[in-house]
């Protein structure tokens, strides 16, 4: 384990060589907004919200998958970054039907919270208004594809924490969809263990406990980190 020294937003930071920019920043108390990242689950760098500027690199880099290096100069906030982050959010809001007023996750939604943080007071792009299904066939949980942002957190926890592989992404592009098994009603899945980790992982109101109504759906994300730490490090930190 070798340490690396870098600066993040002008602040001197030291981090292990295996650390990502996001981890180094979080340790140093610097907040980088994220969306597809989830503590305890491996990162995919898909949502592009955590993009940061690194001196000497022309491209913007995702903080969640980019490793620190010696002498790296990172900027996590700039007018340009804020503009791009806000646009990314607007694209998401326009893509499917995120109607906060009638959402189980209203008030407990990472997408919504991010919109507030980034000052997104309206969406400049035309709403697509697709018609996606709501899958209510599972005895315990529901899935509203209209609220899905395809971050694939549920897929990752289902594969890598629970190990069941029930969830995956089907199709591609804007027609991508989270599926259970062979794209069958969730309630008919042969592999779902009903563990509920996907529901815990979901940042929006797409996956929810049955019976939750508007604004009721809170999640306990620390559970996931707890399981992973217990499994990998044999440390049970409740």
């Amino acid at each position: 384990m070798a340490a690396r020294t870098l600066t993040i937003d002008g602040k001197q930071v030291s981090a292990d060589e295996s650390a990502t920019i996001l981890e180094a920043a979080t340790d140093a108390g610097i907040n980088i907004p994220t969306l597809c990242h989830l503590d305890g689950v491996y990162d995919v760098g898909a949502c592009r919200i955590c993009l940061v500027e690194v001196a000497g690199v022309a491209k913007l880099l995702p903080a969640c998958t980019t490793r620190v290096s010696e002498g790296m100069e990172v900027k996590t906030d700039s007018e340009r970054l804020r503009k791009y982050r806000r646009m990314t959010l607007e694209l998401l809001f326009a893509e499917r039907n995120h109607v906060c007023a009638v959402c189980v996750a209203n008030g407990h939604c990472e997408l919504q919270a991010l919109a507030y943080t980034l000052g997104m007071d309206h969406v400049r792009y035309e709403y697509c208004f697709p018609r996606w299904e709501v899958d209510n066939t599972h005895p315990l949980f529901g899935m509203d594809h209209n609220r899905c942002i395809l971050c694939a957190r549920c897929v990752r926890v289902c594969w890598h924490i629970e190990g069941a592989g029930t969830k995956n992404v089907s199709g591609r592009g804007a027609r991508s969809q989270i599926i259970s098994d062979l794209n069958q009603p969730w309630g008919t899945s042969d592999t779902c263990t009903k563990c509920g980790k996907c529901v815990m992982a979901c940042p929006t109101g797409a996956l929810f406990d049955k019976g939750a109504t508007v604004s009721e759906m809170e999640r306990d994300r620390t559970k996931l980190e707890f399981i992973v730490t217990a499994r990998e490090k044999k440390q049970w930190i409740a």
Binding site: P139, G165, N168, S170, G171, I179, D181, L182, G187, T191
Partner: protein
């Protein structure tokens, strides 16, 4: 409602395996998987073979592949739907693939496609209700030198016009309806 759905939840595998045992195509498919040592990374090759044998990838077939390769069904389905080449629905007796590559496009492939769509009464990606013709588009078949090209039942045909395309289609349907 949940109860009725859950009552449907049952292991489909035994039925599929039983059905497969009586179908030679499954044997050929399994031999192909064996050739690849049932490795996970052979999934796409196996799907190619399955589609070649069965014409399209229906759920039972995907489940059979998942079982034999020891992969989650969701992974097999995710891969099968990612790639354009795989189709989960049966195709018509004839297939007509209009190349919509740039060269074909600037030379009027859009007009050829429009003419076929109007004649057959279907959109690209669909099959006529009588199951005679499936109409598809391709993202460049690399026949740009002879644009616009259309592939009729696997035969690349050069320099198509709405008229030549309709002639071909009418030949398939037997009469010009």
């Amino acid at each position: 409602m949940t109860a009725t759905l859950l009552s449907k939840k049952q292991n489909r595998l035994p039925r599929i395996l039983e059905h497969a045992s009586g179908d030679k195509r499954f044997k050929i498919l399994e031999a192909h998987m064996k050739k690849h040592q049932f490795k996970h990374d052979a999934l796409i090759e196996v799907l190619h073979k399955a589609q070649e044998l069965f014409g399209f990838l229906e759920d039972d077939l995907l489940l059979f592949i998942a079982y034999k390769l020891k992969l989650p069904a969701s992974r097999v389905y995710g891969v099968a739907t990612f790639y354009h080449f795989f189709t989960l629905k049966p195709k018509g007796r004839h297939t007509c693939v209009v190349c919509m590559g740039t060269a074909c496009y600037v030379k009027g492939a859009d007009k050829v496609l429009a003419a076929i769509e109007e004649h057959a009464g279907i959109k690209a990606g669909e099959t006529t209700p009588d199951n005679q013709v499936s109409l598809l588009t391709a993202r460049c078949i690399g026949a740009c030198g002879i644009a616009p090209a259309v592939v009729y039942d696997g035969t690349v045909t050069p320099r198509q016009t709405p008229e030549t395309a309709l002639e071909q289609l009418k030949g398939w349907t037997g009469h010009g309806h």
